[in-house]
């Protein structure tokens, strides 16, 4: 079967008409004392097998909440999903009963959490915690589960796994604990892995080890990887395609090379220009002016308009749709043509 033309062309063939995972017009809001927080306002992205989608965006733009909605781990209430679908191989997960979702969560769609280092339980050995996946979901005996745990620790390259399987989390360094979290997340061979800022707390040298490990595991098993990050360097290194979030929306999505060569949204363009470049030494850096939006009081029209150098009068009133630039690219900017041309506003 063939993908429809509007699908981003996958690195390797897709599965059926629907991609492996499709988030479609997802909305998430939180009822808080201060008011209704509209954290996710119509997010759509797709992921194919073997593909790496990077989700980029600043703090509070809704990256983690979207991931939590895919996993089905939002507390409802206070969270509510008024609109949208999360289709996994064509089935809308949001319509499934909780038992059915439990079958998918952690087994077919797994996640590495942003605060992974505190996610390990300090009172159980790492072997026991990895083995739990097999005891609970596969009904394995303690001994078999421990054997599996050692195998996995080997796979994520923890030296002397056999000797270390009964050590406790505090006996490992930050990078090693992150490997253990990765081991747990890939234990049951998920088809989709969501990694939420998996290296933010780590040094660049350790980050490089972890990113290499994730890429290798992905090659071995052809899983789809959603990598959530705000690091433009990591994205450039590993992503096949990118979704940029701002104020709870996707403002641009495109294959990785296109976005770095010719960004199609003023926010993306501003981000790329604010990276210090070697030839800019001694000069003032380009800086996006102003502040990220307040989700309780979103700007009218295009939520980027208070900071945008391309702004025109209609930006203040008209919410830009996610325009199609070409079959593999979209931009939520009325003036994407001008942005692509590089004519500055």
């Amino acid at each position: 079967m063939k993908n429809t033309a509007t699908e981003v062309v996958p690195a390797e063939g897709g599965l059926g008409n629907d991609p492996l995972l499709a988030v479609d017009n997802l909305h998430v809001e939180f009822a808080t004392r201060a008011g209704l927080v509209k954290a996710v306002n119509g997010v759509s992205y797709t992921l194919n097998a073997g593909e790496t989608l990077a989700v980029l965006g600043e703090s509070g733009s809704g990256k983690s909440v979207t991931a939590q909605a895919i996993m089905g781990i939002l507390d409802m209430p206070p969270a509510r999903i008024p609109l949208g679908e999360v289709r996994f191989r064509g089935t809308d997960l949001l319509k499934l009963k909780e038992e059915a979702r439990t079958q998918i969560r952690g087994q077919r769609i797994a996640m590495i959490f942003q605060d992974a280092l505190s996610a390990l339980n300090p009172v159980f050995t790492v072997g026991w915690q990895i083995g739990e996946m097999f005891r609970v979901h596969r009904g394995m005996s303690r001994r078999d589960a421990e054997t599996k745990a050692v195998e996995l620790m080997d796979r994520v390259r923890i030296p002397a796994a056999k000797q270390r399987v009964n050590d406790y989390p505090h006996q490992f360094s930050g990078g090693m604990r992150q490997r253990i979290m990765i081991a747990m997340s890939i234990a049951l061979d998920p088809e989709v892995l969501i990694a939420d800022e998996p290296t933010t707390a780590l040094d660049v040298t350790v980050q490089a080890q972890i990113m290499e490990l994730l890429a290798e595991l992905q090659r071995e098993s052809n899983m789809g990887l959603i990598l959530i990050t705000h690091d433009l360097g990591v994205v450039a290194d590993v992503a096949d395609k990118i979704a940029v979030m701002y104020g709870g929306r996707i403002v641009e999505n495109a294959p990785v090379h296109d976005i770095y060569r010719t960004p199609g949204h003023p926010y993306t363009k501003g981000l790329l220009e604010s990276i210090p470049r070697v030839d800019q030494k001694g000069q003032e850096l380009y800086a996006i002016k102003g502040l990220p939006p307040n989700l309780l009081d979103m700007p009218s029209g295009c939520s980027f308009h208070p900071r945008c150098p391309y702004r025109q009068d209609n930006c203040v009133t008209d919410v830009p749709e996610l325009y199609e630039i070409n079959p593999t690219r979209n931009s939520a900017c009325h003036y994407w043509r001008e942005v692509l041309d590089g004519t500055d506003g």
């Binding site: 030296p159 980050q207 360097g233 290194d237 090379h257 770095y260 210090p276 502040l291």
Partner: protein
């Protein structure tokens, strides 16, 4: 900015060990964490020295000793030619005033119950001679203006500001006592990319305006490169390489610096498959029990017998124009994508 004249700060063989003790009633010292273990460098007026290195290598400890927040175990810190350890009374107070700090975390480093005016004016309580009581409010408003905040917001509380604005408040407080040296410990790491550039531009502008010297600690190597005149690379409490920004970034001589630079992801996907990368194996050893000889030898691909026996000193080596601490130092040309 080119460094001129006598150094404003001279650091010699600086050591800071934290005792490791055992026992509850009778504490016995069983060892020490060698957080900073023999560091020497100079800093000139108007100059920025970038300090980089992995987590735990001693960057913040170095900053705290220079700020006199921690006492050095040994070694000396001279400010404008005067030894800090020997200074007393008013002299010591003036020396301390001359070195200020901007912290990493704009969310926790400001007292939430104090107004912005009180936070920025707090240093005047300790050094009342800098600004007499009647002048303080105006001084604080001037400082708010200097860092690009609205002087009318003097009575607001930290939670009413964004992360980038809070970092500006921290910078304003750092400037209050008109220091000559400001130590920035990860000043932009907690900020969004779109805000980082604003704060870096501000630090740059203030440096020119007040002829400040910066020690700029950060893990983002592209930010360090942008702002620094010279860069020091630390590993396990030691400086392993020190040179002008171009020397460190384009011609690194120490294997650790080479690995560190190659691990930094380049924000450009062009040619990513061909990029040369050195992935270090293993973790850094414990600073309580560093390897003999060269501390990097347990992860170094060039290590030979001599590396375990003899400690390589930080010095200019044959074929390299700047200081490095490696027996087999050789410059390595780095080709940058941007």
């Amino acid at each position: 900015m080119a460094p001129t004249g006598d150094p404003i700060l001279e650091v010699r063989d600086l050591v800071k060990h934290f005792p490791l003790s055992q026992g509850i009633v009778f504490k016995r010292q069983i060892g020490a964490i060698k957080a900073v273990d023999g560091v020497s460098f100079d800093l000139h007026r108007g100059e920025t020295l970038g300090v980089v290195g992995e987590s735990g290598c001693g960057k913040s400890t170095l900053a705290k000793v220079l700020m006199a927040l921690e006492r050095p175990t040994s070694g000396s810190v001279m400010i404008n030619g005067k030894d800090m350890a020997k200074a007393r009374g008013g002299d010591l107070k003036r020396m301390r005033r001359n070195v200020q700090m901007v912290m990493q975390d704009p969310y926790t480093s400001l007292n939430p119950r104090m107004t912005v005016g009180d936070i920025i004016g707090e240093p005047y309580e300790i050094h009342p001679d800098v600004a007499p009581k009647g002048e303080r409010r105006r001084k604080v408003q001037d400082l708010l203006d200097v860092v690009g905040l609205n002087p009318d917001h003097i009575n607001r509380y930290p939670h009413q500001f964004s992360g980038g604005q809070r970092q500006r408040i921290g910078i304003a407080r750092g400037l209050a006592l008109q220091p000559e040296i400001i130590i920035c410990d990860e000043p932009v790491s907690a900020l969004d990319v779109s805000i980082q550039a604003q704060v870096i531009n501000l630090l740059d502008r203030l440096q020119t305006e007040f002829d400040l010297a910066y020690i700029f600690i950060a893990h983002d190597l592209s930010v360090v490169r942008h702002i620094s005149d010279r860069v020091a690379v630390m590993y396990l409490g030691k400086m392993v390489e020190l040179g002008k920004d171009l020397e460190i970034y384009d011609k690194p001589a120490h294997p650790y610096t080479q690995a560190l630079l190659s691990a930094v992801p380049v924000p450009d996907p062009e040619g990513r498959e061909q990029r040369e990368r050195i992935i270090l194996q293993g973790d850094p050893p414990s600073p309580a029990n560093p390897p003999s000889g060269c501390r990097f030898r347990t992860r170094c691909w060039k290590a030979e017998e001599i590396c375990a026996e003899e400690e390589p000193l930080l010095q200019i080596r044959p074929g390299t124009g700047h200081e490095s601490a490696c027996h087999f130092a050789e410059t390595h040309d780095v080709v940058h994508a941007t």
